[in-house]
């Protein structure tokens, strides 16, 4: 086939561009072993280990699998929306990918939508697998279909907050610093961010502070939802405020080069 270089310029329809971006980002995310480990292997290990956790940590009254599962779901959301996204975006900036895409017809908001889209696709896989494994391990959620509907809503809210924070981080720090901070935050949240261990097990003085963190709010809301209730309004407000503030800061500070 011969090539005809005669100019025929034009942008693709926006939907096709955003879809192409989402597909490309998802493929790259799936190809990265560390990210996959972060997204799936660690949550799965925690799920299995969590059923044995009562010997190590006192999770409170109830069956360990019922206590640990909502926390693991929250952790999976944090790992893909925050840690993976921040690291991937940091290195995209570093290698000039975002700079290069800046001269294609893909609008900047299209780049963001593509990123969020790929995060959501990964999360669907994460949550489906984790829920199935948890049920197989004996998880006994309450609330029926409504609780799963709430999980979708909370996933979207949590992703908005954590993805905005990820872009804030990746848009201002160097790639290596982003990598370090994103992993550190992940570990700190696992250990003491009221993600895995229910809020009620923390000292009373810490509870208010932790419930105002996006991690605490997300985890607590998922916990309440699978106990069969609607999520607390405060959790929803906390997530919305974090998302709005981080998005506003990101819009002001993000450097594309």
């Amino acid at each position: 086939m011969t090539l005809d270089f005669a100019p025929r310029p034009g942008a693709a329809p926006v939907r096709r561009m955003v879809l192409a971006q989402t597909v490309m980002e998802t493929r790259l995310l799936m190809r990265n072993g560390e990210q996959l480990g972060l997204a799936l292997v660690i949550p799965l290990l925690l799920l299995v280990a969590g059923t044995e956790a009562t010997r190590v940590v006192d999770l409170g009254p109830g069956r360990p699998i019922d206590i640990i599962t909502p926390g693991v779901l929250a952790l999976a959301i944090v790992s893909s929306a925050f840690t993976s996204l921040a690291i991937a975006t940091g290195f995209e900036r570093r290698y000039g990918v975002i700079k290069r895409l800046g001269t294609t017809p893909l609008p900047r908001w299209g780049l963001l939508v593509g990123k969020i889209g790929s995060v959501l696709l990964v999360q669907i896989a994460q949550l489906v697998i984790l829920v199935l494994v948890a049920l197989w391990l004996g998880w006994d959620p309450h609330g029926g279909a409504a609780s799963y509907a709430w999980l979708v809503v909370l996933t979207l809210l949590g992703t908005a907050a954590f993805a905005a924070l990820a872009l804030l981080l990746a848009g201002t720090l160097r790639a290596e610093a982003t990598l370090a901070v994103a992993n550190l935050v992940y570990v700190l949240l696992v250990v003491g961010g009221a993600v895995l261990v229910p809020l009620s097990r923390y000292p009373e003085a810490a509870q208010t502070f932790l419930s105002l963190l996006p991690s605490g709010a997300l985890s607590e809301a998922i916990r309440v939802v699978f106990e069969g209730s609607a999520p607390p309004t405060t959790s929803i407000v906390v997530l919305v405020v974090w998302a709005a503030v981080a998005a506003a800061l990101t819009a002001r500070t993000f450097k594309w080069e």
């Binding site: 086939m1 090539l3 310029p9 693709a12 192409a20 290698y95 990918v97 290069r100 017809p105 893909l106």
Partner: protein, 307 residues
Amino acid sequence: MNSLAVEVSGLVMRYGETTAVDGLSLTVEPGTVTAVLGPNGAGKTTTIETCEGYRSPQTGTVRVLGLDPVREAAQLRPRVGVMLQSGGAWSASYPHEMLRYVARLYADPLDVDALVDRLGLGTIGRTPYRRLSGGQQQRLALATALVGRPELVFLDEPTAGLDPQARRATWELVEELRASGVTVVLTTHFMDEVERLADWVHVLDHGRLIASGSPKSLTSEGAENTLRVNGPAGLDVSGLLTALPGGTQVVEQAPGLYLVSGTIDPALLHAVTGWFARQGVLLDGIGVRRRTLEDVFLDLTGRELRS
């Protein structure tokens, strides 16, 4: 279609204390290959990247295809192809995949497989970008600049790091682009590339335009050409000098290499060979050396090494 492809006027760009571009004005005619030359730090990349819309002019104006590259970016981007000096692809992406992705951003892209074949990227299918050689990365960057069928392409050092075969392939591609009506703006450090490809040359130094013209006009302007004569070493050439017109100079630059400088014309060549014949000397070689673009460039920008 008579409007200029690129019009930069009075552009000033400063980074802190440094003035990268200092009142630069230049134009690019549509349908031409225009080379932007200059030593490192002359302001080439800053100028090109301002044309690409990466930054707004601090002073002066930039118009690309008649549009403001920052404010009218949405209209301009589909029409312009960009090849950056380095990077620009995900390190884990495969060349084919990367190119197919970029093609999907355009309405009527080139055939990806044909482009891959043309640029010799067909054999590296499942090699991730980070494992490609520098030359392969360059060719992929060129391919992504062309895949959207742009009217105008900016190529920042398109042949840096390429082997001679790949350089020639790139030159042929650029010539084909021009034949198809694409305007090409390229920066380079290779003078042979400019002499072969460019219709027009802008020489930049210290952020200013110091010379501009076709490669031919630049090399012939006030050019003193040289006649190189190879023969036996140690001849007394003072006699030759008297046989030649005034203003001509003769030196034995190295043993057996005589340089005759001045206005080299057929009469002078005849006079020189006649003198050697009268001396009964058989010459090993004789040739006219024209001033090259490299000579012009070094004369304009100085020969000292820049830090």
